[in-house]
């Protein structure tokens, strides 16, 4: 694969997982109370995809690879999140000013993502890899990336991916070895002939990259202008209706104990669940 890859990562924002969320009913359907006031982060599933994309791009032969981050969400919140993410890895942001609500219709979101990807100037389909989160911290449907792939006509799709390895050293034809999660804590190993392909990432194997000021400064030359140009696109409801929405029930019993043996922690948790 001498020309490198064109990797498009689909990744939006979700409320900071440390926040306590409260669903409310609005005139347009369910929403999270004061979601715009809460801090947001890049969806952790998509973040793994972004870090894997940057890693693959940096290692691909010829260094002609490029990473785009297609992100659908309220412009102001995208900007806040990019201040952090843009320090970590190099990418070009393709923002779409729209809803990042967890109650969005997966079909409508996928249609918008596919349309946005197709409109990226200079994108070479023969080198195209589409990355995204297999799941999402706010959209549990697990279907969006698959729908994006179908709309782009990409036949080679892999979901629950933990690793891809370029087989250049073995076959030198640009094919990948892909590890997908299957039941029982095991992986299914497949070989993909190469781009175009779509990968819905699980957690991958890479740690969160360090903040690099120089990467940040380089990214910001394109991130801020892209945000300023971002088109505002309403996300249609797609006929989706929610009968009710509620957060997972929480029962909190805090006890502060230091240096408890792992076995005892496990035993106490098991006993607590069993009550």
């Amino acid at each position: 694969m001498t020309n490198g890859y064109h990797i498009v990562v689909c990744g939006s924002i979700v409320p900071d997982p440390l926040q306590t969320l409260e669903p409310v009913q609005t005139a347009t359907g369910p929403a999270l109370k004061n979601e715009m006031m809460l801090p947001a982060v890049l969806d952790p599933w998509a973040a793994h995809a972004l870090y894997e994309a940057a890693n693959l791009a940096s290692k691909a032969a010829g260094s002609n690879s490029k990473v785009w981050l297609v992100s659908v969400g309220p412009k102001a919140k995208l900007q806040q999140v990019m201040m952090t993410i843009a320090q970590k890895v190099s990418f070009e942001l393709v923002p779409v000013d729209s809803s990042a609500s967890g109650f969005a219709d997966a079909h409508a979101t996928a249609a918008l993502l596919a349309e946005t990807i197709q409109s990226i100037p200079g994108l070479d389909r023969s080198r195209l890899l589409v990355f995204g989160g297999w799941e999402s911290a706010s959209r549990g449907a697990g279907a969006t990336m698959q729908l994006v792939g179908e709309r782009l006509g990409i036949l080679d799709q892999f979901q629950g991916v933990d690793q891809i390895r370029v087989l250049d050293d073995v076959q030198a034809d640009g094919s990948f070895e892909v590890l997908e999660r299957i039941e029982g804590g095991r992986h299914q190993v497949s070989v993909c002939p190469g781009p175009p392909a779509l990968f819905g990432w699980a957690t991958g194997n890479l740690p969160e990259p360090r903040n690099n000021p120089q990467v940040g400064m380089a990214n910001m030359r394109t991130v801020m202008p892209a945000l300023q140009r971002a088109k505002s696109v309403p996300l249609p409801a797609g006929g989706l209706h929610f009968l009710s929405a509620s957060p997972p029930k929480q029962q909190r019993q805090t006890r502060v104990v230091k240096d408890l043996p792992t076995e005892q922690i496990a035993r106490e948790i098991a006993e607590w669940i069993g009550k």
Binding site: M37, Q80, Q87, R210, G216, M217
Partner: protein, 612 residues
């Protein structure tokens, strides 16, 4: 890496600086107005680093007259900022002690005990209700009548959004700045914190040494406990002016509460309280839109207790009948704490030097008489930006002389400085006691600072009374010693135990608002400790900690991040640290310099709430 201006810390002062500067970098036709010397042809290259994980993770009261802020946004309705409301009603309320458990029963703040008796016996005359007395007027120096109730987190986020949208400056959160690059009597930039280390700071896989960012001007706005500001203060060449020191502090701890629908509190309601849970502890309740209220207390360094703490006091404060009638059935939405630098003018460092300038709370801008800091901090940032614009247009260097002639001159000629002079000695009376202190504040405020108590307070922790002196009249020395030993053995809070013994009732936990301290960390926004950084709290000389009996740093730790360690040196759990800095000024040990034995470095992470 080299830029024109390196900025440290994003709070209201930096917000004022970057808002003003970013609007002036280009001419109306898009051409460069203030040209960079590092990148000729481009506007000034400005970069700002904030250690917290987001720009909206600050903590404050905050009610402000907003004079400086309004000046920066003419024609903008600032009440459109989330959680902002125009001040509608303002009251000062004296809270009696309904539990008869506070230190006023100890006869020391005698006047408070006497005041309670008089008010109770003449309740009808004085209009006593709900164990509280509403003062008939708010002293003019405290009034915020035309001001705003704000969430500092939402305000900072709103400001940073606007600045970042301009594309003219770069603001980076999650990037702690370790230290200034001091070269002789000049600051040449900053050094970022090392990444990829273990908790002790040893390099691990992926180690990245902190990058040096050199700049013609370093703007220091990292607050009262910021590493850069404190390292400049401690430098032998450019440290504090003779006679200036930052020894007067308070810990502010607050909750943001969703009120029940029929609480009866209107947005813009402002209550200042005195008298309870201890005479020395001031409190507040500010009402935001959408049934949200900020409720909190200030525990000052002149609260002469060797076991002063905040969280349980905050709970008792909320439970006071005057407040609980509003707060009952409320739900905690956020929690936070911060140290306030209350030395004011006496803690003012050199405001400018060769290659650097100080703005905001760390520069002594907080007005301790008016109880106001956000607007003052903002205004100092604006003043520095105006100075930078003037100097850059005139192609003059950022020398001490030039910055004093532009920035410091603007500050000295402004209302910020005028009012800080009035406030300078207003709190001296607290050295003699809280009642004397309050009388002194009132007299200073009403006479425009012409009449003030004479002495300067010296509330350094090492000057605190012993446990026996503080509680000996209520608990025998033998029992106190026993309690101390038991708490040390179990690793539990001595202050909690003493409060129990002094008659403070247990908190009736409701799981929504009255919750454990640790649940407040979890439910009030969460605390995050970024991996790959060294612990930012260390103890320089462990032997000093071993010899310290009170371990006030542990009692005062806002997040219970400090606990009594096995070898009598406090153990630090960074995953609970909210970066309030209380350990800094609550160290009773005589360490190196004025800040005791605690080393408080730049750290990543901390609270993750934008509501405070």
């Amino acid at each position: 890496m080299t830029v024109d201006i390196a900025c440290v810390g994003f709070g209201p002062a930096m917000g004022g600086f970057l808002t003003t500067l970013s609007r002036s970098l280009l001419n109306a036709d898009g051409s460069v107005r203030l040209e960079s010397t590092t990148s000729p042809g481009l506007p000034l290259q400005v970069i700002c680093y904030e250690r917290a994980d987001g720009m909206g993770f600050g903590v404050s009261g905050a009610v402000t007259r907003g004079r400086g802020i309004r000046g920066s946004f003419p024609g903008v309705d600032l009440t459109e900022i989330p959680m902002a409301a125009a001040v509608k009603t303002e009251k000062v309320v004296y809270l009696l002690d309904p539990l008869r458990a506070s230190r006023r029963t100890n006869l020391r703040p005698f006047a408070f005990k006497a005041a309670d008796r008089v008010l109770r016996s003449l309740g009808l005359v004085f209009g006593l209700k709900h164990e509280a007395f509403e003062l008939p007027f708010t002293p003019p120096f405290m009034q915020k009548h035309e001001g705003l109730v704000l969430s500092l987190g939402q305000f900072n986020q709103w400001v940073s959004d606007q600045v970042a949208t301009s594309g003219m400056v770069q603001i980076w959160p999650g990037m702690p700045v370790a230290e200034p690059l001091i070269e002789g009597d000049a600051v040449a930039g900053v050094r970022l914190a090392d990444q990829g280390t273990d908790l002790q700071g040893h390099p691990e896989a992926g180690f990245t040494p902190g990058m040096d960012l050199r700049a013609a001007l370093t703007v220091v706005g990292d607050g009262p406990v910021g590493a850069v500001g404190r390292k400049i203060d401690a430098d032998v060449n450019i440290g504090m002016p003779q006679g200036h020191e930052s020894r007067e502090w308070a810990l502010g701890m607050k909750m943001v509460i969703e009120l029940r629908e029929d609480s009866g509190l209107e947005p813009g309601t402002v209550l200042h309280t005195i008298g309870f849970p201890e005479p020395e502890i001031f409190g507040f309740l500010y009402v935001h839109p959408e049934r949200l209220a900020s409720v909190g207390i200030f525990v000052p360094s002149w609260f002469r207790s060797p076991v002063r703490t905040a969280y349980r006091y905050l709970q008792h404060f909320m439970l006071h009948p005057y407040l609980w009638r509003y707060l009952e059935r409320g739900t905690l939405k956020s929690w936070g704490a911060k140290s306030l630098q209350e030395s004011g003018r006496h803690g003012e460092p050199y405001l400018a030097g060769n290659g650097y300038a100080r703005i905001g709370e760390g520069s002594g801008s907080t007005n301790v008489l008016a109880g106001s800091g956000v607007d003052e901090a903002w205004t100092t940032g604006v003043q520095l930006a105006e100075a930078v614009i003037e100097l850059t247009e005139q192609k003059r260097a950022f020398t001490r002389e030039n910055l004093e002639a532009t920035y410091v001159r603007r500050r000295r000629e402004s209302w910020v400085d005028e009012e800080s002079k009035i406030a300078a000695d207003a709190r001296n009376g607290f050295q003699q006691g809280v009642f004397t202190g309050m009388i002194g504040m009132a007299v200073a405020g009403l006479t425009g600072g012409r009449v003030t108590p004479a002495s300067r307070p010296n509330p350094k922790s090492s000057g605190l009374p012993s446990l026996e002196d503080a509680y000996g009249s209520r608990i025998s020395p033998v029992e106190l010693k026993q309690m101390q030993e038991e708490c040390a053995a179990k690793g539990t809070s001595l202050h909690d135990r003493i409060m129990d013994r002094c008659g403070w009732p247990q908190i009736p936990m409701d799981g929504k608002l009255l919750i454990s301290h640790q649940d407040a960390l979890l439910m009030g926004g969460g605390v995050q400790a970024s991996a790959g950084y060294a612990n930012h709290v260390k103890f320089r000389r462990p032997e000093l900690c071993r010899a310290c009996e009170t371990k006030l740093c542990v009692e005062m730790c806002s997040g219970q991040a400090l606990t009594r360690g096995e070898d009598a040196v406090p153990a630090f759990d960074r995953e609970k640290c909210v970066y309030c800095g209380a350990c800094l000024w609550n160290c009773a040990a005589e360490g190196d310099g004025t800040q005791g034995n605690v080393e408080f470095d730049a750290g990543a992470g901390g609270l993750h709430s934008t509501l405070n």
